[in-house]
């Protein structure tokens, strides 16, 4: 618990430090958290930022017998409640360990069975803080919560072919605006609440475009 609190504190501290560095000096001089102020002044759901990301897991703990493949992700976010509301959908294939289990029959024949491959789809929603949306360099961070759907490479109809479990985790994203587009890099640590826990830390990059929210989407969100 203490370790978790320490990690959370470090994360928040890092976020605030970066925020201070990226906040315009005149705003800091006024004693205002300019990013927050600026976003708060932005009308809720005024714009949508939609992005496509690709990424890799560089730390996988808890399900060591499965190796992660590259992921693809769609991500959209919009201003809300002084920060940004975010929705993600991510896909990643995982390869099961070859020759995981060894069995020997009565005749001494050795059989090796492989673990099934699995494809995961994460559906996530969350909220985070961001510095000024019109800044050239943007920094944002927050928390995502959602569900991981796991489709195992088993014959159709097999019990347990589709499983799901909740996942939660923080993320930090750095971006740079280039015209209507933004290029992003992101680090996220996700914990799937399986037993045993399934923890991953991943790095991803992508490009997003920002546009005015269509009226019908704004009506849905408001």
């Amino acid at each position: 618990m203490i370790q978790a609190c320490t990690r959370t504190s470090l994360f928040c501290g890092l976020l605030l430090s970066c925020w201070a560095l990226l906040t315009p000096a005149d705003a800091r001089a006024q004693g205002l958290p300019s990013g927050s102020e600026s976003v708060e002044s932005a009308s809720a759901f005024e714009t949508i930022r939609a992005g496509v990301f690709g990424g890799m897991v560089f730390r996988n703990r808890g399900m060591d017998e499965w190796s992660p493949g590259p992921s693809g992700r769609l991500s959209i976010d919009t201003p809300y409640a002084g920060g940004r509301l975010r929705f993600d959908a991510a896909y990643r294939p995982w390869s099961g360990q070859i020759g995981f289990e060894e069995t020997i029959d009565a005749d001494g024949n050795v059989f090796r069975s492989d673990l099934p491959d699995v494809q995961t789809i994460d559906i996530l929603a969350g909220w985070g803080l961001a510095n000024a949306p019109d800044a050239t360099i943007s920094l944002s961070g927050g928390l995502l919560i959602g569900n991981r759907f796991m489709l195992f490479d088993l014959p159709v109809g097999t019990a347990g072919r589709l499983e799901s479990e909740m996942l939660v985790g923080p993320w930090v994203r750095v971006g740079r605006a280039t015209g209507a587009f933004r290029v992003f890099g992101e680090v996220r640590a996700m914990r799937v609440l399986t037993n045993p826990r399934w923890d991953t830390i991943g790095l991803s990059g992508g490009v997003a475009i920002e546009f005015a929210t269509p009226g019908w989407i704004r009506w849905i969100l408001k």
């Binding site: 409640a81 499983e163 909740m166 408001k222």
Partner: protein
């Protein structure tokens, strides 16, 4: 709880809502029953709370628990909920321990509404299921749904509704036991389907309510005494009509209700009780004379029920006719209100009783002042009150329940007649402070005597067949139960709503070991804080932080028993309205009592679960209510 506070919880089932009101567990906390949402209230331990919907009592007592999810109301319908922890006998002669008063608003025009929720407990093994064969999935709950279609003009309300529920009992401990009794390969599933219709008139002098419904439930009814799940199919049809009219100086009240049900078995490997049917009807009427500062009411009732079972070609039928009378006198002044009442039920042929009359008498008084007030209630109950949904009533009716209700022992007890009696007193003092804060102190004492209890010391794990616990009926037993609470709350509509309390329980058996073993540990001392709020823009949240004291159950001894340490429980719900208030989406992180600890069925600890719920309404204020 106010309507907006109820909606911030994101609850879709009544049982989800009630677990946010821990005072309901004042006298009994059958945590096994509570471990699965949608399984109703309590179990096995005497009279249960009764649900009162807009002034209409809704009997839903079956197999020693109140099946709340079969009632024609869901949390999304409510604009208020009040719990009163008092022993009562209704005008129709039904005994209840506490009332849950549910109120719903009248609507204008056409309105359609509904909600759906799924709960996924965390702790599934995920891929690890394939690398470690010992791992298995935990339970899943849902989708639970309710739908309403209604029309109203502020005076009349006509509504049709449907509630459905689904549970997957995938938890190894439960599924393993169930699979040993259940001869279908399919995953153990509990389903419920409950449609209803409702007509309500709320006029200046005339009030009318007509409700009718049907409920089908495929269940694994856990009977704690039996130690295993009964794979049962329950069907129940019911109708209630209640009317009152004010005349000059007096009012007239009339109520009639009827129900019929059947209990059949799902396929199983073991012998189960043969099909059971029951029918019940009740009528009550009273007249109330009122003056400016007083009222007096007197009335009569008749209740009849029949239990029948076809076993080995013989149809065992047991029927009862229970006439009753009730009377009350009330008075009020600017500050004081006072009411004293007596309800009596005449038992025609009850071989268990030395007395042929069961009754509840009591008084309740309250004083209200500008800074606070005081409420005092005193009750005395004597005699056995038969209920067709009670297991002991079935055994008395000669119903074949196999060996698990220890029928022979009950007969032996029957030959020694004794009268169950209960005296209770509750005192609440409350005072308001600055900033819309309200503080309160509550003390409750209940003395029970002549109780029929199970005499048992369980030393083995629960299961089927040879692992059935051995026990016998025993009586009469007596003892004292105490509850002391202190609380502080702020319920101002435009600010964060806070509720906090501490409740301490105590049992005194005066040397009656059976009473002590049966009661001790049922209720845990608890400290509770809840906070909720609705923000502009439709954002709403509800959170609960509670501490439950360490727990033991003396009826269970090693290796069946394992002491349960103190629990810190944290629940949180966040949500937002969408589509201009027509849709309400909520995410909840809940702690459900569902993690195994020890072998006994109540040995459960909280397990983290996530609930997703979506509610809709054609009236934007209703979805966001």
């Amino acid at each position: 709880m106010s309507g907006s506070e109820i909606q911030t919880t994101g609850a879709v089932r009544l049982s989800e809502l009630f677990r946010m009101m821990p005072s309901i567990e004042t006298w009994g906390s059958d945590r096994y029953t509570l471990r699965l949402l949608g399984m109703g209230l309590d179990g096995q331990h005497g009279a249960q709370p009764v649900m009162v919907l807009d002034g209409v009592e809704l009997p839903a007592f079956f197999l020693d628990r109140v099946l709340t999810e079969a009632l024609p109301v869901a949390p999304g319908d409510l604009d208020g909920l009040v719990y009163q922890s008092e022993l009562e006998m209704s005008d129709a002669g039904r005994l209840s321990a506490g009332k849950l008063r549910l109120s719903t608003p009248m609507i204008t025009g056409w309105q359609a509404s509904g909600a759906i929720a799924v709960i996924n407990e965390t702790g599934d093994p995920g891929p690890a299921k394939h690398s470690d064969a010992r791992r298995d999935n935990v339970d899943r709950s849902g989708p639970a749904t309710w739908l309403r279609l209604g029309w109203g003009d502020g005076i009349w309300l006509v509504q049709a509704g449907l509630q459905t529920d689904l549970h997957h009992l995938t938890d190894t401990r439960i599924a393993g036991r169930v699979r040993r009794t259940y001869s279908e390969d399919a995953q153990p599933i509990v389903t419920q389907f409950s449609p209803f219709v409702r007509i309500r008139k709320k006029g200046a002098t005339t009030r009318l309510q007509v409700l009718a419904g049907h409920s089908r439930r495929k269940d694994f009814i856990f009977h704690e005494a039996a130690g295993w799940e009964w794979p049962a199919r329950l069907q129940r049809s019911w109708a209630i009509a209640q009317a009152s009219k004010d005349f000059k100086g007096f009012s007239l009240f009339v109520r009639a209700d009827g129900s019929e049900g059947s209990l059949t078995d799902r396929p199983s490997f073991i012998a189960l009780p043969p099909e059971l049917e029951w029918r019940e009807a009740a009528f009550s009427s009273s007249i109330m004379r009122s003056g400016p500062t007083w009222n007096a009411r007197i009335g009569g009732s008749a209740r009849t029920f029949e239990i029948s079972q076809l076993a080995d070609g013989t149809n065992t039928v047991n029927s009862r006719m229970l006439p009753g009378i009730h009377a009350s006198i009330g008075a009020r002044s600017d500050r004081w209100t006072f009411r004293t009442f007596a309800n009596a039920l005449l038992l025609d042929d009850d071989g268990l009783q030395s007395s042929s009359t069961s009754y509840v008498v009591g008084t309740e008084s309250s004083r209200r002042g500008p800074q606070g007030g005081i409420d005092l209630g005193i009750r005395w109950q004597s005699g056995h009150v038969p209920e067709p949904g009670q297991l002991t009533e079935w055994t008395r009716a000669g119903v074949d329940l196999g060996e698990w209700m220890q029928l022979a022992d009950l007969d032996a007890v029957s030959s020694h007649s004794f009268t169950p009696r209960t005296a209770s007193m509750g005192l609440t003092v409350h005072r308001s402070f600055k900033g819309a804060w309200l503080g309160w102190l509550d003390g409750r004492i209940r003395w029970q005597d002549g109780q029929l209890l199970q005499d048992r010391v369980v030393t083995q794990p629960f299961g089927v067949g040879p692992l059935l616990p051995e026990w016998s009926w025993s009586g009469p037993h007596s003892g004292w139960l105490f509850s002391r609470s202190i609380g502080l709350e702020r319920t101002a509509a435009d600010r964060i709503v806070w509720r906090t309390f501490f409740q301490f329980h105590h049992v005194s058996s005066e040397g009656d070991d059976v009473f002590f073993r049966h009661q001790t540990g049922f209720s845990r001392h608890r400290a509770w804080v809840t906070a909720s709020d609705e923000r502009p823009g439709g954002f709403r949240w509800f959170t609960r932080i509670g501490y439950l004291s360490a727990w033991t159950w003396p009826e269970y001894q090693e290796p069946a028993r394992r002491s349960i340490p103190g629990d810190l429980v944290v629940d949180a719900t966040f949500g937002k309205t969408l589509m201009s208030g027509h849709l309400n989406a909520m995410v909840s992180v809940l702690n459900l009592p569902d993690r195994a600890l020890g072998n006994h069925p109540a040995g459960v600890r909280e397990q983290l679960a996530i609930r997703l719920s979506i509610a809709f309404s054609t009236h934007s204020d209703a979805a966001s209510r």
